[in-house]
């Protein structure tokens, strides 16, 4: 059964059809072609698919597209201001935290949500904010550096 979903993505109103069982991740990637949000485990374990949903970071792979109806969603495509990168994006580049980069959009979204909540996060808050994001390339050192740098710059 197809339903129509009306939602706001990165400040833009969108409306499109989806099956009742379609995940928000599939809806974003396959229907709307927001491919910056990544698919990995599809079970809510890795954070590659993180988007901001009404101000909170969520795993879009385990969220139904239907739940996006009337919601405000921010994806990685919505962070930069034209050519000017969001400070979190810039910090990930500057610290060498982007190896393959596949986990990066999910991290940046989680960190943006954190820094929207608190400007001066503690080490514990940083760890907590990205504890649901897996990176297989970096061993996490440079990701922590990036988050700290972004927090400093904000």
């Amino acid at each position: 059964m197809s339903i129509t979903i009306t939602t706001t993505i990165n400040g833009k109103a969108v409306s499109a059809g989806a099956e009742a069982s379609t995940s928000l991740l599939e809806f974003l990637r396959d229907t709307l072609e927001y491919k910056g949000t990544k698919l990995c485990c599809n079970t809510g374990e890795c954070g590659a698919c993180t988007v901001i949903y009404n101000g909170k970071p969520i795993n879009s792979c385990v969220t139904l597209a239907a739940d996006a109806n009337g919601a405000e969603i921010t994806t990685i495509e919505g962070l930069a201001d034209g050519d000017k990168l969001h400070p979190v994006q810039q910090a990930f580049i500057d610290t060498g935290a982007v190896q393959c980069g596949y986990c990066t959009p999910g991290y940046i979204i989680s960190v943006k949500a954190l820094l929207d909540r608190t400007k001066k996060p503690t080490a514990e808050e940083i760890e907590e904010a990205v504890s649901g994001n897996i990176c297989r390339c970096t061993g996490y050192n440079k990701i922590v550096d990036a988050i700290q740098l972004a927090a400093q710059r904000l």
Binding site: K35, L39, C41, E45, E77, I93, G96, G101, T104, G139
Partner: protein
């Protein structure tokens, strides 16, 4: 080599391709979508070992929206493999692990694909399953490959079966030396199977062009090997196959190529596209990957060492049982490397090791990051501590007593050119908190249940083959570089642009390294074996120098001087010492259109010459020491890594931040294997933890800060004296952590992982919990 000689290499500018990745516009394999594309899916065996009696695809073909269903009968009767041709892209007659591809479907939507896969009727005759490689070697074990002969080099009188390959180390007279030793330590270690678990699933997309050629998009580490496999298994000449590399979301050896990945999804996808006469894309599901693509093998390691009272190592006798799974995959290479490395990287005058690479009904061995090395090192470096304990010697001191010096040989390496091993041990000891008092190292005072552990490692880079690079100078003075290696956080984004910028006197921003397209890129084995900087780095440097020579030759005519008098600075070609006499790079590159057409520099890494050089002068391979402080919770078995240092000699670091990143990532992978990772297979061959819900990997909460120290050592054989850095940090972590547990509790754990349950069990058995 002094850093000051260089302007660009040795600095760490932002990664190329960083911006598109942080804004969500990096096009990874999984982001592709071809016009009119169908979705492909693979039917995998539900038995770990069975005869295929029949496959009936008629019902599946009738489903509306299904465009093609293929089985082995649709493909040429050609087997593939790295050294042993023991496998079909789709199983023929038999399946040998639960996950073996049997059939494939192309349909309008993923839902229809699923439906069609369910409708394919395969009649199997189940066969006895063997999971443990030592069981598989026994005469009563089921036979996995009826038509694969036993290796010819098996020692005389050895009665075994299911052995895929055999490796032997024979140095001196180990039996005799062992008998003469003062102290003998005899142990058995075991490591488990892990999956590389790159985050981006494997994909393949294929389309038949109007002229009959086939284009395949792959997120593989080796586009050229993929091209070769498609060509071989489908019987299409190489010039009619084009493989285009998509960005890779990680690989770690698991995306080595179709053959060694054990996935063969590229040829299967191409076959579907040919049958359906429509473009097809296959995306593997993560859980499907865990059960079907290649893994780091588990290994059983028997290790016995004889030493003199003063700590001099006399002899080692060992045996490696290396589990290659249902097919040979990369087993012969990884198992061979593991066998050599069980001989260690210390002085070893007498050594006798037998390495058996054994077929079992499990996932197939792949070239996962440092293939064979971490397993061997877990045994070797844990064992070194056991020997030191028996001798009542400090583990660091015992190691230092046995380190080779320049000109010495170690097992598997006839001659070392330089040895930074001792230096890495000393620096790591200091960084982890040892105080040097005279010649003695004094361990730091630690809290209750805390222990300190060190472990060393080395890695061989001379595995071959070579590879090329093409450097084109465009008419505006910008530079386009073609290499055959892909970017997965590796050299195309980090080191190569610096090398080319250095040699051509252009800003790094003006250099573009384009992604691999087998129609245009020079041949290369792919981003594998820590050989990125060695092969493509050398090739790019030589190609840039070749381009520079062409530019200088043309500029010399114009400036009325000799090419030797010229230099390029900031895109100006000028006479050394007379900077006013100059012409812009842009002008010379533009004028080239009228003379040589285009400035195209060509370079290559000559592996034959490199091997000859190594034979003559010795190997200048990387060495490392890791050290850590671990706290053991004796109530729960939980480990906390309080401090972790990694000291590496990787020669000259071309992009130090990238090198650190490789070291941190590789160390994290082995720390994961030490603490929690394992693919668990039950007695029927079923993977018990295929999804990320059950397959535990290190998260940020588990990982210590890895404090990396780079020492330059003797120049490596790469450009500017660089050495490969992608794999070696996988070698020491498991033993370093196990040694710290031993230091904390006196309990030696010889089987991975060092999970809370396993640690607690070991502590209880020793009466320490």
């Amino acid at each position: 080599m002094a850093k000051a000689e260089f302007k660009v290499v040795g600095t760490s500018p932002a990664r190329k391709g960083g911006v598109e990745r942080v804004i969500g516009k990096g096009i990874y394999g999984i982001d592709l979508m071809l016009k009119d594309q169908l979705h492909g899916g693979i039917l995998r065996s539900q038995y770990a070992h069975a005869k295929i009696i029949s496959i009936d695809t008629s019902e599946a073909k009738k489903i509306p929206g299904v465009h093609a269903v293929v089985t082995a009968a649709d493909a040429p009767d050609v087997r593939y493999g790295r050294s042993y041709f023991d496998r079909y892209i789709l199983a023929r007659n038999k399946v040998r692990y639960m996950g073996d591809p049997v059939a494939a479907v192309a349909a309008d939507s993923p839902a229809v694909v699923k439906q069609a896969l369910k409708k394919i009727k395969v009649v199997y005759e189940p066969l006895p399953v063997v999971i443990d490689p030592e069981e598989a070697m026994k005469p009563e074990a089921p036979t996995l490959h009826e038509d694969m002969p036993l290796p010819k080099n098996l020692p005389e009188g050895v009665k075994v079966k299911n052995v895929c390959s055999f490796a032997a180390v024979r140095v001196g007279d180990a039996e005799k030396a062992m008998a003469e030793a003062d102290v003998v330590v005899n142990e058995v270690y075991e490591t488990k199977m892990i999956h590389p678990q790159y985050l981006e699933p494997r994909i393949a997309a294929a389309q038949v062009e109007p002229n009959g050629r086939i284009t395949v998009w792959a997120n593989s580490q080796g586009p050229f090997p993929v091209r070769q496999e498609i060509s071989k298994t489908l019987g299409i000449p190489l010039n009619n196959v084009r493989v285009i590399a998509a960005e890779l979301g990680g690989g770690f050896g698991g995306k080595g190529s179709g053959i060694t990945s054990g996935a063969a999804i590229e040829p299967i996808c191409a076959l579907l596209a040919m049958k359906a006469k429509r473009p097809v894309m296959i995306v593997l599901d993560k859980a499907e990957e865990t059960i079907s693509t290649t893994i780091r093998s588990g290994a059983k390691l028997y290790i016995k060492t004889g030493v003199k009272k003063d700590g001099t190592i006399m002899a080692r006798i060992g045996k490696v049982i290396y589990d290659t799974g249902g097919y040979s995959g990369f087993g012969a290479q990884a198992g061979g490397r593991c066998t050599n490395m069980l001989g260690g990287w210390y002085l070893m005058p007498n050594c006798h090791i037998d390495g058996y690479v054994v077929y079992t009904n499990k996932q197939v061995c792949g070239p996962v990051r440092g293939p064979g090395g971490p397993q061997a090192a877990f045994a070797v470096e844990s064992h070194m501590d056991s020997i030191a304990a028996k001798l009542d010697m400090d583990p660091g001191e015992f190691r230092l007593k046995n380190i080779p010096k320049a000109g010495d040989k170690i097992v598997g390496v006839p001659k070392l050119r330089d040895v930074s091993l001792g230096e890495t041990i000393k620096i790591a000891a200091e960084k982890i908190g040892y105080k040097k008092v005279g010649a003695q190292f004094i361990a730091p005072a630690l809290g209750k249940n805390q222990g300190i552990g060190i472990a060393t490692g080395s890695w061989i880079e001379s595995a071959g083959p070579g590879g090329g690079a093409v450097v084109k100078v465009n008419e505006d003075g910008s530079v386009t570089v073609h290499i055959g290696k892909i970017d997965m956080g590796t050299i195309p984004g980090f080191g190569i642009p610096l090398i080319v910028a250095e040699e051509l006197g252009v800003p790094v921003e003006d250099v573009t390294v384009v992604n691999v397209d087998t129609d245009a890129s020079p041949w290369d084995a792919g981003t594998v074996g820590s050989r990125g900087i060695l092969v493509a780095g050398t090739a790019s440097r030589l190609a840039a120098i070749d381009a520079r020579n062409q530019l200088f030759k043309m500029a010399a005519t114009q400036l009325e001087c000799s090419p030797e008098d010229l230099e390029i600075v900031n895109k100006q070609i000028r006479v050394k010492g007379t900077p006013a006499k100059s012409v812009s790079l842009e002008t010379v590159a533009t004028n080239a259109h009228n003379v040589i057409g285009e400035v195209i520099g060509r370079g290559y890494f000559d592996n034959v010459a490199a091997v000859a050089e190594e034979k003559a002068h010795g190997s200048s391979q990387p060495f490392t020491t890791h050290a850590c402080i671990v706290e053991v919770d004796t109530m729960t078995g939980n480990l906390k890594i309080l401090k972790y240092v990694a000291v590496h000699d990787i020669g000259f670091p071309i992009h130090p931040v990238a090198v650190e990143g490789q070291i941190e990532g590789a160390a994290a992978m082995s720390i994961g294997q030490a603490l929690c990772e394992q693919v668990i297979v039950d007695k029927d061959g079923r993977t018990m933890n295929p999804s990320f819900v059950d397959y535990l990997m290190p998260t940020i909460n588990m990982m210590p800060r890895i404090e990396t120290t780079l020492i330059h050592g003797y120049p490596g054989s790469g450009p500017y004296g660089a050495k490969g850095a992608g794999e070696i940090a996988c070698v020491p972590p498991m033993a370093a952590i196990a040694n710290a547990i031993y230091n904390a509790t006196g309990v030696r754990i010889k089987t991975l992982p060092l999970s809370p349950a396993n640690v607690l069990r070991a502590l209880k058995e020793a009466g320490k919990a």
